[in-house]
């Protein structure tokens, strides 16, 4: 279909007749063939009396006239015939002057609109067709004002007809057709979002699904801001489900014409984006749009000063699948198991190395499956387990979360002496949701007899070897980590061939395997000695020993996670000593600090002598590190700069950060030990020192593990950049929806980018991920199956929360909810109570200045508990609802001994 010939108007038509005001087009008979899909639809909505911001459209005829008048048509055909890069055509268009008569017509229409700030969007003829979702393939220029900028934006939209990603949708063949452009008054939205008239994944009947975020809707589309989620019944227009998130960032004009990320005002962060009444109005509009077209719709909307506007409506192009109701959606098992196993398995996502924990992207999940298939079995073997069983059973996947099969793992660990009694292992994962008294391992205990004997002998051998070599091995792992880091730091992956990249990925996966397998013994031995310590303390010290194991400090400076806070403090001190450097860090926008430092002589010296060494030691850290989409500190040093700002502020000293009542804790420990007779004291001291050593080595080797993931991430993102260049991905954010095995196969083979990655599957994964993201978080630990429809929503009242006291002490302080660490680190005031969903190693620097720590989820041995104890900060974990009940600024009392958190003054 070549719409260009079809729509070419008679040469006589004047430019002004080719610019039409939307909402008055049906009389003139102009349809989507001259307006493009988007403009035609907007025009229909306006005519139907729906609140759409005023707009006019430059028809395809105007574009054709532009090509004819400038002679570009022939030039473009020549370039296309050469099969040259579409970029060459875009360049031709954007660099050409628009002839005077056309300019006049456009400017006149802009004048009639009242010369407001406008959004300029392309409106392609084939876009929005029901068959294929063309969402976002052509360009949009936001917040445009003034004639010149308008004309420039128009040319960008015209040129987008030859954009790579549009070409990818068209499959690169055939003429590009023609294109119209919509110029629409810009809604400087307070709140924006999307509304689906049908539940796009869950497929529940009579449900309108609304997602809403602060600021412009672009933040929502790119997945970079958190959003509220509402479900409205389309019969009663009543809200039947509501999930309000703490919203830290929004997308908004930073300076006129420049859209970017900025913070949400503190007062708006935990309030719902939309009131019940506003939701009712919005739902009413949506129902009208749906009945106007007679098909389900996907509507983009925006609200300014309480007034709702519709920005776009598209038919929903994919059949929602019936996911929520299928059996597989209730159990982490990938394949159906026998009833006792299916219903009796204990699952937990507590601290699988603290790197899985939260919701994972499709890429993260597929990488976790790669780990399961290729690495996890060898990790078990590294623990001295002789029979490593079926790796397919050892991990499970549920609502975008990764779970460890505690039952099966406990069964296998029955081969190791310290975990022969499964309870030692199992009780670690217990939370209040699970009643262990009624739990029986459906896999039973590992068979006795010869098998058992062989396994025990094997374990003893393996463990003895490990004990002898562990220090040496940890040193080697630390050495190879630095080698891999230095090597990777010099490589410019963009200049490598696909073949070379394949070799890189293969290498990194090899290293990934080795680092994980190498880490495991330290993990399990630290765990084992901790268990022995707990038992001996209870047996020999009674009440005195109750919390001794929690109070015993390994030398804090030797624990890498804590040391990272210390090292940031060191960098902050160095910055403070150079006023010029501190000025740059304090005053430049976060994303420009690195550049500005490197361009300044003093800044560069600081970068090379302070930041680089810090990044070499700590830069591959990040949050939830198994999730490949999360940038590491080295990829995005914003958080480091936030912490430097925080630490360099007056009134904070290293003693505050590192030495908090350490003497108290150590004194306590020694005093208790002194009561014991010498042999027992010696035994206990040995156990303590072994525990310390293993913990220390665990942290060293954990860095190797973390670095190996960063290495893999680098290659995946390089593939992502190539996919963006080829138009398969719309933006780098979409890397999140790739399947890891596709990335591997693509690098190992010679299929083209479009053959190797299916856009349809990618979109499907995206929908599923968005669906998971809207669901309430599944429990940390559960037995059997979990039914999301039965999950209890928190009651949003009550001033008292009960959780698990995980670090002793009682303190009163102002609460601060932290949802986004990077954006909020500089807001956090020393002494405030940190309230968040959960933490991992990347949060450690914040603990150093916190008065107390309260989390929604967690256990005695999760990150927040361990680090709180290290810093002697009272901590209560597993409160379930703290982030929803407590507001920033509330005065609260945290009791780390009893596990109670009370709001004193809300």
């Amino acid at each position: 279909m070549d719409t260009r010939t079809a729509s070419t108007p008679a040469p006589a038509s004047s430019p002004s007749s080719l610019v039409v005001v939307l909402g008055r087009t049906s009389a003139s008979g102009a349809g989507s063939e001259v307006l493009g899909g988007k403009a035609a639809r907007l025009s229909e909505l306006i005519e139907a009396g729906l609140p759409v911001p005023p707009a006019f459209c430059l028809t395809t005829g105007l574009f054709d006239l532009f090509l004819r008048e400038t002679g570009l048509g022939a030039e473009i055909r020549a370039v296309e015939a050469r099969d040259a890069d579409p970029g060459a055509v875009r360049e031709l268009i954007t660099s050409r002057e628009i002839p005077e008569p056309l300019t006049r017509a456009i400017v006149a229409a802009y004048e009639d609109l009242g010369r407001p700030r406008v959004a300029v969007r392309s409106s392609a003829c084939r876009e929005d067709s029901a068959a294929q979702s063309f969402a976002g393939q052509h360009d949009t220029v936001l917040d445009v004002s003034g004639d010149e900028d308008l004309l420039r934006a128009v040319k960008v939209c015209w040129a987008s007809l030859w954009s790579d990603r549009a070409a990818a949708y068209r499959d690169g063949t055939g003429p590009a057709g023609s294109i119209a452009v919509v110029v629409q008054e810009m809604v400087q939205a307070d709140v924006s979002g999307v509304l689906f008239t049908v539940d796009p994944v869950g497929a529940r009947p009579n449900r309108l699904v609304v997602e809403a975020c602060c600021g412009l809707g672009e933040g929502l589309v790119s997945g970079r801001v958190s959003s509220d989620f509402f479900v409205v019944d389309d019969r009663t227009l009543e809200v039947v489900e509501e999930h309000v998130r703490y919203k830290v960032t929004k997308c908004a004009p930073l300076t006129p014409g420049r859209i970017g990320m900025t913070k949400v005002d503190a007062a708006d962060r935990d309030a719902p984006c939309l009131t019940r009444e506003q939701l009712r109005v919005l739902a009413g509009l949506a129902v009208r749009v749906r009945s106007h077209y007679g098909t389900e719709q996907d509507i983009e909307w925006a609200m300014r000063d309480g007034e709702l506007h519709l920005l776009q409506a598209r038919p929903v192009t994919t059949r929602p699948s019936d996911r929520a109701t299928t059996d597989g959606e209730r159990s982490p098992y990938l394949a159906r198991q026998s009833d006792p196993v299916q219903h009796g398995t204990l699952w937990s996502r507590m601290d699988i190395g603290e790197i899985f924990v939260g919701l994972m992207s499709p890429l993260g999940l597929s990488f976790a499956q790669y780990y399961q298939r290729n690495v996890h079995g060898d990790c078990a073997a590294a623990l001295g387990v002789r029979d490593t069983g079926d790796v397919g059973l050892q991990m499970g996947f549920f609502q975008g979360h990764v779970y460890l099969n505690i039952s099966y793992t406990a069964y296998l660990l029955g081969q190791c002496l310290p975990t022969r009694d499964q309870r030692h292992f199992t009780k670690r994962f217990v939370s209040e949701e699970v009643d262990l008294a009624a739990y029986r391992n459906p896999f039973g205990t590992f068979p006795g007899g010869v098998e058992d004997l062989l396994s025990t002998v094997h374990w003893v051998q393996a463990t003895a070897t490990e004990m002898l070599s562990m220090k040496q091995r940890a040193e080697e792992m630390a050495g190879s980590r630095l080698y891999e880091f230095d090597r990777a730091r010099r490589l410019d992956l963009t200049r490598m061939s696909r073949r070379e990249l394949d070799a890189e990925l293969t290498r990194y996966l090899g290293y990934f395997h080795d680092a994980h397998v190498g880490y495991m013994p330290y993990y399990i031995n630290a765990f084992g000695f901790y268990g022995v310590l707990t038992e001996l303390c209870a047996k020999w010290l009674g009440a005195d020993g109750d919390n001794l194991q929690n109070r015993i400090k390994t030398d804090m400076s030797s624990l890498r996670t804590v040391a990272s806070a210390q090292e940031i403090w060191g960098v902050a001190q160095a910055a403070k000593a150079r006023p010029r450097v501190l000025e740059i860090i304090d005053e430049a926008p976060l994303d420009e600090i690195e550049d500005r430092l490197r361009r300044d002589p003093e800044g560069l010296a600081f970068w090379n002598t302070q930041v680089e060494p810090f990044l070499r030691a700590n830069g591959t850290r990040g949050r939830q590190e198994m999730e490949l989409t999360h940038p590491r500190w080295i990829d995005d040093p914003s958080y480091i700069f936030q912490m430097i700002r925080r630490y360099a502020a007056d009134g904070i000293s290293v003693d505050d950060l590192m030495g908090r009542s350490r003497a108290h804790a150590e004194g306590d420990g020694r005093a208790v030990l002194a009561k014991l007779p010498l042999p027992k004291r010696k035994v206990l001291e040995t156990v303590i020192s072994m525990y310390s050593l293993c913990s220390e080595l665990r942290e060293t080797t954990r860095m190797s593990m973390i670095t190996s993931i960063w290495l893999v991430r680098n290659v995946v993102y390089e593939v992502g950049r190539r996919l963006v260049a080829e138009g398969v991905l719309h933006s780098l954010d979409e890397v999140a929806f790739l399947e890891f095995e596709d990335v591997r196969a693509y690098l190992a083979g010679d299929a083209t980018e479009r053959e190797a990655f299916s856009r349809a599957e990618l979109d499907e994964r995206r929908r599923l991920h968005e669906y998971h993201n809207r669901l309430p978080e599944p429990p940390l630990t559960f037995v059997g199956e979990h039914d999301i429809t039965q999950s209890v929503r928190p009651a949003a009242d009550g001033s008292r929360l009960e959780g698990l006291g995980s670090s002793p002490g009682r303190i009163m302080g102002r609460a601060r909810i932290v949802e986004d660490l990077v954006w909020q680190a500089d807001e956090f005031q020393p002494g405030e109570v940190l309230v968040t969903r959960y933490t991992d190693a990347s949060w450690t620097p914040l603990f150093a200045i916190a008065g107390a720590v309260v989390t929604d989820i967690g256990s005695m041995l999760s990150h927040s508990s361990i680090v709180s104890r290290e810093f002697n900060v009272p901590s209560v974990v597993n409160t379930k609802h703290a982030t929803q009940r407590i507001n920033t600024g509330d005065l609260i009392v945290v009791d780390g001994d009893t596990g109670v958190v009370e709001v004193v003054e809300g």
Partner: protein, 371 residues
């Protein structure tokens, strides 16, 4: 010293029976005769035999006869020379007279021990070395003064890459030993081999470390093609990429843990060697290592002296390295921890290992870090 005593000395040295000492005495009237006789026995005949063996091996005749004795017609067919039956016969009969072949009932067969040994597939490298000597070393000795007069030089085209690649495998055992000593086995290794020849050493390394991946490069297109075909045959295509390329113009990221140059440093003129080594270093990751093997000068080995001569008369490459000089060049190229070692005590074959140490050249990121 009179001629008779010369003849006696010759007799004693060659241990070949001089059948009739009296006959020698009778012809001493012509002073040239004993000289010619002595030369023919001591020098010429072995040379003829060597030349015959080299050509018989290079043409495949030895290998053919090793399978079964062949008549003249089969050999004509084998060599595809139907027009030159008679000429082939004359060549074969010369071989019979030299004692390398035997003919019985019209069928030629292998006679001498050297012929039988060289025909053996396992000795292909030795056969190729013999061919190399006859084709390249002998002309170097023969033509040196004339080449100087004419201003002529050997060029790369004067070498048969395939023969050189085969013959260099005579050093295989020692090179493999060098690889065995220095290749990391426990971690994934990325290897760059400059001048990969048949690819045999890359294969050896790939077998030692199953997670090794490599880029194998050779300057000569036909050699690179052959290596690629070998990789396919060995099932290594997935792990080893083979390219035609020149170290001096290669563009590669510093991705390699190990760069190897086996027996080819003398293909680079002495003046360029530091630059070549610097370039090799630029492909190494920080802390990565270079493994270079080469025969060196000063071993008192005549073969190496002639090889050295050949390169002196070539318009490319240069003399064989001297151990201390190459060590100095490696250090000048920025390598640290440079070490040289022998494999077999009497052999002038040396293994050089050097590390791409803490940075110099590109400067970024070179700050020493506390561990």
């Amino acid at each position: 010293m009179d001629l008779l005593s010369l003849a006696r000395t010759v007799k004693d040295r060659v241990e070949a029976p001089i059948t009739d000492a009296l006959a020698v005495a009778k012809v001493v009237t012509d002073p040239r005769t004993p000289l010619l006789l002595a030369l023919s026995t001591v020098v010429v005949t072995p040379l003829y035999r060597a030349a015959f063996l080299a050509s018989a091996s290079g043409s495949g005749v030895l290998q053919c006869l090793a399978v079964r004795p062949c008549d003249l017609d089969s050999l004509v067919e084998y060599l595809e020379v139907p027009q030159d039956r008679e000429r082939l016969r004359v060549w074969l009969d010369t071989g019979v007279r030299l004692g390398e072949l035997d003919v019985r009932e019209g069928c030629y067969r292998l006679r001498s021990t050297p012929a039988k040994l060289l025909a053996h597939a396992g000795n292909d490298a030795v056969a190729a070395a013999l061919e190399e000597i006859m084709r390249f070393h002998v002309p170097a000795l023969l033509d040196a003064p004339r080449m100087l007069k004419e201003g002529r030089r050997f060029s790369l085209g004067d070498q048969d890459g395939t023969v050189i690649a085969r013959s260099s495998l005579a050093l295989q055992g020692m090179v493999q030993e060098a690889i065995d000593r220095h290749l990391e086995r426990a971690t994934p290794v990325r290897l760059l081999e400059i001048g990969c020849g048949t690819g045999a050493y890359v294969r050896h390394a790939a077998r030692l470390n199953p997670r090794l991946t490599a880029l194998a490069v050779d300057l000569q297109p036909e050699v690179a093609l052959r290596a690629a075909a070998n990789m396919a045959e060995w099932g290594l295509t997935g792990r080893v990429e083979t390219r035609q390329g020149d170290l001096r113009t290669l563009e590669l990221q510093p991705q390699f843990d190990l760069v190897t140059l086996h027996n080819n440093i003398y293909y680079f003129p002495e003046a360029e060697r530091v630059e070549v080594l610097e370039r090799a270093r630029s492909f190494l990751a920080p802390g990565g290592r270079l493994l270079l093997t080469s025969s060196c000068q000063g071993g008192g080995n005549a073969g190496l002296d002639v090889l050295n001569l050949w390169f002196e008369y070539a318009d490319f490459g240069g003399p064989l390295p001297r151990e201390d000089e190459l060590v100095a060049q490696l250090e000048k190229a920025g390598f640290t921890d440079v070490r040289a070692a022998g494999i077999v005590p009497t052999q002038p074959f040396r293994v050089f290992v050097a590390t791409n140490g803490a940075d110099g050249a590109d400067g970024t990121n070179g700050t020493p870090i506390q561990a």
